[in-house]
Amino acid sequence: MDKEEKIIELIDVEKQFDGTVAVEKMNLYVRKGEFVTLLGPSGCGKSTTLRMIAGFELPTSGKILLNGKDITNVPPYERPINTVFQRYALFPHLNVYDNIAYGLKLKRFRNTYETADGKKVVKKEKLSKAEIDQKVSRVLKLVDLEEFEKRDVTTLSGGQQQRIAIARAIVNEPEILLLDEPLGALDLKMRQDMQLELKQMHDKLGITFIYVTHDQEEALTMSDTIVVMKDGQIQQIGTPKDIYNEPKNAFVADFIGESNIFSGTIVGNRKVRFINKIFDCVDDFPLNEKVDVVVRPEDVYLVDEGKGQITGEIVSSIFKGVHYEMTLLVGKTEIVIQDTQERKVGERCSVIIKPDDIHIMAKEFTVNRYDGYITKKNTVCFADGEFECDVTQLYEGSHLDEEGYLVTAEGEKIDLTDVDVKVEVGLKDVEIIDNDEDGDACGTIISIVYKGDHYQVIIRTDDEEEDFVVDTEYTWNENDRVSVRIPKDKIFLSLKQEAKK
């Protein structure tokens, strides 16, 4: 058979639960014999996708093809697909042998016989006891649990139950084996052993594996292909190497391994500015494009002060076994670094980041984001300006008393002075004023792009710290000095430290 043959294909598959979308218009195919991992945080739709392939859930719309045949509405018991469940789901009333033989005993084969007078008779036949015995003992050997046949499954350890669950699925020789976070309940050492065993099993059996996990390390270790999902959508499909080295967006980068993610701007031909420094890079993006810059902690090289591109102070250093994980504070930005050589906290160091190790991703720019803080007057400072804002949105149901303290719904008084906040301002909510005095913050227009029905203007504040991206109907000129004003109700605030009580 053709190695490239698609064994299963999802076409525009969508699943809704009571109106909320769990999986959105998904298109995916898996090649025969592949080890594919669906990776994502909980609630990203990966388990739902698996359950639709198994047949436990019917898609709201779309089609699922198995070997080119539509199986969208085929019940699970007629699909040549078996599942290893998260919590094993062994039958507690059956012993190990009966658990594994469960599927085999149900199986019926159509055998055609020719009678003496030449008629063809089709008979449905069961597997014989001897055949079942043989298959069960073979599969028990595969999972290293020979002589466990008569044991009660409830007396087995988690790892052993897991092996039985795997044995119970593969003994049926399915075309596809689905594994729904099968190692989630095991301890770390056991999990790592099982990862290798599963990988070996996959190589030995030649069955297509579709594996669901939220553990990126598991996915990187075992898979041929990783499908990264978020909010019911596929973010990226690729080999573990591709996904790790060339993540498509900041989410994938962050989810796969540790990453430093900075917001940056393209300032020249293969030049990107982030942490207030201009770096050479290898990706080609349009000038002034807002981008996410991803740098892996192990790709940041620590050197003595002054010998690198940027300098800062070590604020934390944790021993992680093979390496030290250190945090370098540069201005207000933290850079996480992994290095085998320890630098003491408080030491000033420089870092070097090579152009190859700077991964640049287009930012889906829908909102201006800033880091700011609240002043005594309950205004918010960000991007070189001070803006009036509604601080009561930080705590639901809160209000301000006469003295300007915030009173929460529970009656607790909070002093917001100098509290760090995240600020979001919509692109259409920024008003540009033609002089640099009347607004709340001022800067220079560095770019103006016509976007069909409006202009997108980028205003950079004077100390070149922050940009305002503004959608506007009016045309402006580059290098104009302008100021910006933002209506009080269009500034959205959230606390940096979650739920500080």
Partner: protein
């Protein structure tokens, strides 16, 4: 301080006393009465007049009516239990599997009769049977008794079954379907075996009371149905022969014990931990 502290053993004293007074002592008294007769013309229940004898047992087994009562008692109990299970299982299963919010209301409606006085329920059933004409026929006495017993004990069957079925792991059912079992196959191979403990406790809840509760057979049987419970009552309240009554109570005890051994055999295939207490 030490003088005030109780060990855990001390906490058990009230229960030990209770058991001694209300379980062990009465049982001993029954045994004493069962194996003795009184020489006096009029029963005085004075222990000095007692003499050891098997007479009570010999008398009991000598009367064919008594043997008949045993057959009827157990026959009624078994039929009632089977009918109760046949009605209760689908009800409990449907309720347990339904996602509807009114599920609790339905469950409540099914078990609500449990809270209404038992004698009243039986009297009401008598009126109903009279109205549809069943009660007027002597041949239907046994049928009427069964109807009454099923009606009275159905809630006791639904409840334990529902409790087991609601706890059934959905993953296990999915695993069964995944391995190739159709709906009915999953039901017989997984659901029924796993609800074994519920079935056993439902049987226990129905089988034992129905062998002895003569109120139903008295009220609905039109005097044609005599069960063991009735025989015991007669000895104690009409004949004032405590010795004969105790002997019948002992026979019943042994018979019930044997029945429980048999039910225990059926459930021995179940998972040990989930079988209520592992007593039988």
């Amino acid at each position: 301080m030490k003088a005030l502290s109780f060990s855990r053993k001390h906490l058990g004293i009230p229960y030990a006393l209770f058991i001694a007074l209300f379980v062990v002592l009465p049982l001993l008294l029954i045994i004493l009465f069962a194996f003795t007769v009184e020489d006096a013309e009029i029963a005085t229940n004075n222990i000095s007049a007692f003499s050891f004898s098997f007479e009570n047992f010999i008398d009991f087994f000598g009367k064919s009516a008594n043997i008949r009562a045993i057959y009827i008692s157990f026959g009624l109990a078994v039929i009632t239990t089977v009918i109760c299970l046949l009605i209760a299982y689908p009800v409990a299963y449907i309720l347990a599997r339904s996602k509807s919010k009114s599920r609790n209301v339905f469950l409540m409606l099914f078990i609500l009769p449990m809270w209404i006085n038992f004698v009243l329920r039986t009297a009401a059933m008598k009126e109903l049977l009279f109205a549809i004409g069943f009660y007027r026929s002597n041949r239907l006495s046994l049928v009427n008794t069964v109807i009454g017993m099923v009606y009275d004990y159905l809630p006791f069957t639904i409840l334990p079954l529902y409790t087991v079925l609601i706890k059934l792991d959905k993953n296990v059912l999915e695993a069964s379907a995944d391995l190739g079992a159709t709906g009915p196959q999953t039901f017989w191979k997984v659901v029924v075996p796993l609800s074994g403990p519920g079935i056993v406790s439902a049987v226990t809840m129905v089988l034992l009371p129905t062998t002895t509760s003569y109120v139903i057979s008295d009220t609905l049987g039109n005097g044609n149905v005599t069960i063991i419970g009735k025989l015991i009552e007669d000895q104690f309240t009409t004949m004032f022969d405590w010795h004969a009554g105790s002997a019948i109570a002992m026979i019943l005890l042994v018979l019930i014990f044997l029945t429980m051994l048999i039910t225990g055999k059926f459930s021995s295939g179940e998972e040990v931990n989930t079988r209520g207490g592992g007593l039988w």
